[in-house]
Symmetry: C3
Subunit: 485 residues, 3 copies
């Protein structure tokens, strides 16, 4: 069985030796806002599974091989990450930068990052360069100020960097290839881990991630510090609305409206090209189909909200109503809450709330000549993560356990199963205890009978009862099967 | 004694069985921002009091009956709340909605809520309808997302709803009976418990309530998201002041100035009708005269501050300087601090601070085309609740113990008495211990005397001292009386 | 030896009796945002040092006397503070007011405070009067609301008062000697301790000081509450930039640019006079040369940042780019972090970040007709204090241990030394343990040898190893010397 052998030797053995490098202790918790960690647990289980079907035929072999290859590129590419650890440092940093680029969408996958960079290059090469510089320097800065290595390796210090770099280029009024822009770009990117770390100190008290708050703070900082009327770094002019815009419903362009869904996803990175948005969707699908689905739903919700609140059609076509909802929907729908139909509804509610908030923040920010950035997403997602509910199927994952949608779901199911088993076992123990108690009574009764003080009838009733309460063999067998999984 | 019997059977026995439904454990603390809970403690004490006067005459009987009837409608109407628990769910929800309407003023009383709705209908029926819809949907939403049932039953999830509903109608520029407004109204009301719960997660770390922050956030959200120039939901135009207004002191209209006190109380619900304000004052007086007094004082302080800061007279007449001070004065003066003359002064200071802050926030918000809402009250009251002071008579009640002014005061007195008694007992024990010690010495001295080694004089001195230190019977009697209370 | 005798008797004996008056327990921690406390530790050590050189010549005598006199006026003048405790209350309050005036710059020294007041009088007597009134009433208010006496005595409730008083006078549009201004001045100064205490309740959760946040909040409150168009208290008009300003690099005036460094230091107190700034520098130097150095560096960094971001030259000359950086550089460079070259770099980074933030906040605030105040300093310093880093030489001092730069450094060195010694001792113990273990093995081997089962060779090898691991006498001697220090 070369296929299964490869699975064992390739990614898995590497993994076993390195679990300790991903810190999961309480002490380092502040440092890992979005840890994508213990790799071994699920993979070790996979190792055991092949032992079941002892002689697979060629079809099964092909399927196993395919699944194995999918596991190499899907999810968080943990095997690749492990393999990278032995490589040259520059290669490692490249891996971190690519993961950082994808982490904007909560995707911890270098291949997705690569595809996203391809989309950015398609959109605008100067922007892509700025994004790359931003991610690179944010990662380097995180290394310098001694942040958690595991978090850096998962790109958690890079995603703010790429957004800072990209959006500073997007909102610059000095035109493309204005090389001086790289100076504030590098300065702000290097400030990213500082602001991230500071915010994490606060947010970790409520077990909350920092999301893209550092990016929002730093880009707004740069834009408002320089402003539109600056000699060195002029910004695009944003102005508050001061009159009624035209709104003729007959002019609504349905193809453009439909196209606003991928454009909304593209606008997460400040891109208005529908093809770029489509490429980003592919990048999402590769890593996590659930993420992809929520991104699409979120963008659609944003579009609908825009229509409901009578927004100018141009803004809707341009994806400005979608990108915050995309992020909010991904974050609540399966990323930080385990995905159930209740959390799916919660994600929808959060997306609508986020769209409303988006419009509000855009209007407020325009007073200062600023865009809305992703403030609406951050604030709405934080609000929805702070709710304390007593609903059984809405389970907020501990921050240290958050990885990606599919794995989060597996973790939740496993946890639920363990709880159920623990409950069953407890009940059985209780049954057994009561059973023993009853048997004792019967024994005592028997003795009494020997002394001829009791009717035989009572003993029978007690015996019958005790038999009913005894756990039947079938449920015990089920339990054993469950624990073997 | 039918009267005292009724008191025992009517509200009290119901109460005993249901205390557990009001959660007071640490775990659920986050869920109960303003719990109006343990009803039994003080009422049980009342039960013991009638035992004293064993044969009341007809005058005493009448007085007892009157007091009993007052206890039915005053305070938090706990007996009625208990009785409601067995009723049909729609009736219960009506009770919660009415309590929610009154909770805006920190009053947990369905009768006050009913009177307040009457005042609202007098002002504007469309507003009243929106307020009712808001309270209703906020309460339903709280039930859906599984919030604490005790808090819902006390109207703690309704008061933000009524304000959201009312103020969205008040600030709408589309005119009355624009039925589409109910859509965002319902959406925002249903978002109330979400924002409340999220804020409570933060504020509970400092044992602070959320006040009307959810209302402030959501109404500002709606208004700034749509704005004045919106096709679907246009808002009233607020603009920053850009020139000097006329201010002729001789034009000051004293009757209007005096009328601004009830108008200020009415403006808590966005009502500018003095009669409506007067009706609200009655609603306050029924539940808690101390609340009524502080509301009046607060409104007067706001008016004086407006004059001191040279505000346009129209704003003062319109009650815009009063409503925040009303709320701040109620909150600090006896609600969250136990009422002493020191906290009364603190409440006055807070009202002045709140008026200042109100002017500041109104100017800031007008830049975004927004009204001040009750941000000034929230921020000033939170500030004054965060102070850490070493003053004996300023005692901040734990949030779980906050009910209404009179009961808070009783709680504080009880606590002080217990402390005093504990102190007295400790001192007595100390005295007794030293007494015993001295007696031992005397005994030893007596023995010594027997051995003829000591003067009789020394023994006398020691005996005299020990007699002085012995706690006299009178103080012991006092203590016994105290514990019986 | 009269000199050394005086050192012992003068400041030190006073100190020993009063340490308990500076509270350092956990309970009172919230009340002491910036405690300048235990005085005895280092001074007692000094007492031991003179025992070494038993017969000093006249030169040594002079040097000792000089050092003693320097110790009287430098640092936090702890001896003077102790002596003050026995004086008349008005004199004490004067001491506290002077310390409060200097605490703006993190200097706890009444002499510096006196010099600063001299500088203020040189600038504008009306401003100086307002500053004095502000400090006085802030201190009195802190006494009234029962704040920590040690913190008050260190001027920690005065520094916000002086800034409130000064800046309300500076930004008033009613001209100098408009006596009515003293009314809001007193009101806002008295609100200082309230806001300080409330903010400390929040910030103490992260062991952060409140900095000048109360001043920022209260001055902005007053200014925006009244505004430019007010009849009683009109404010200077601030307006957002709406067009490009001229920027001709050839017009850059180097002497003015150089002068902007002291002006930047003066602008901490709102003073644009270069001489006043120079006087403030003297006041800093007297208390702490490190503070002086960082203030100068900070002001220079601000100036450079202004040039980099193409600010109007007038603003740079006027010191508006400097004052926040001055404060940020002092706070990070040795005040709240122990001074090492790494924290020195961090202080530079913070100063640059602060300059950027300063420009941003000035633009945002101008929308509301407000100046930037010291918001940029507060926000950047808090951000840099919230970072969690795993770098050995960046050590954040616990808030209760923060005094002034030089003492902070001594505390850090002492702590490091203690750690090193503890480590050495541990290693030695480990060595001894392993040594004993080996000796046992050898003993066993000897016995074995006696039984003729082992080669003599193995024993020799083991003996050789154990000798190498034995701690040599030299290092032990070093250790003893260290502990004597």
């Amino acid at each position: 069985m070369p296929g299964t052998q490869l699975t064992k030797v390739g990614p898995l053995n590497l993994c076993r030796t390195s679990t300790s490098q991903y810190p999961t202790t309480q002490n380092t918790k502040e440092l890992q806002p979005l840890m994508a960690n213990p790799v071994c647990e699920t993979t070790e289980k996979k190792k055991q599974q092949p032992q079941g079907p002892e002689r697979p035929n060629s079809h099964q072999k092909f399927k196993a091989k395919l699944m194995q290859w999918v596991s190499y590129i899907a999810g968080d590419m943990a095997a690749f990450g492990e393999w990278m650890k032995g490589q040259f440092i520059l290669l490692q940093i490249l891996d971190w930068v690519l993961r950082g680029a994808a982490q904007v969408m909560f995707v911890n996958n270098p291949l997705s990052g690569l595809i996203i960079f391809a989309g950015l290059i398609l959109q605008n090469r100067w922007w892509a360069l700025n994004g790359f510089v931003g991610t690179l320097f944010a990662t380097i800065s995180a290394l310098i100020i001694g942040q958690n290595r595991g978090a850096i390796a998962n790109g958690l210090y890079g995603y703010n960097g790429i957004l800072v770099g990209l959006l500073m280029a997007v909102f610059s009024n000095a035109g493309d290839w204005y090389w001086w822009l790289l100076l504030p770009n590098i300065f702000m990117s290097m400030a990213c881990p500082i602001v991230s770390s500071a915010l994490a100190s606060i947010n970790s008290r409520w077990d909350l991630p920092v999301f893209t708050l550092p990016f929002n703070i730093l880009v707004c900082l740069h834009m408002v510090a320089t402003g539109h009327y600056n000699h060195h770094f002029p910004q695009v002019l944003f102005q508050p609305r001061t009159s009624m815009h035209n709104l003729t419903w007959s002019e609504l362009d349905y193809p453009k409206l439909f196209r606003s869904i991928p454009v909304g996803i593209g606008q997460v990175y400040g891109c208005d090209n529908a093809w770029t948005g489509g490429i980003f969707m592919i990048a999402l699908f590769i890593s996590s189909p659930i993420t992809f689905a929520h991104a699409t739903i979120g963008s659609a919700v944003g579009m609908v909200s825009g229509l409901a609140l009578a927004a100018p059609f141009q803004n809707i076509y341009f994806g400005l109503w979608g990108y915050n909802c995309v992020l909010a929907c991904i974050a609540i729908g399966g990323m930080f809450y385990a995905l159930t139909w209740q959390t799916h509804l919660l994600a929808l509610a959060c997306a609508f709330f986020c769209a409303y908030l988006g419009s509000a923040i855009a209007n407020v920010m325009s007073t200062f000549g600023l865009p809305a950035c992703t403030w609406p997403f951050c604030l709405s997602a934080l609000t929805f993560l702070l709710i304390t509910m007593k609903i059984k199927n809405i389970y907020k994952l501990p921050l240290a356990k958050v990885t990606y949608h599919e794995k989060d779901l597996i973790y939740f199911w496993k946890m639920k199963k363990e709880k159920r088993i623990a409950k069953q076992r407890k009940e059985q123990e209780k049954d057994i205890a009561s059973q023993q108690k009853k048997e004792k009574i019967i024994m005592a009764a028997m003795e009494m009978k020997g002394r001829q003080h009791l009717d035989a009838c009572t003993v029978d009733v007690l015996q019958e009862e005790s038999t009913q309460n005894r756990p039947d063999r079938k449920s015990e067998a089920t339990e054993l099967n469950l624990t073997q999984l």
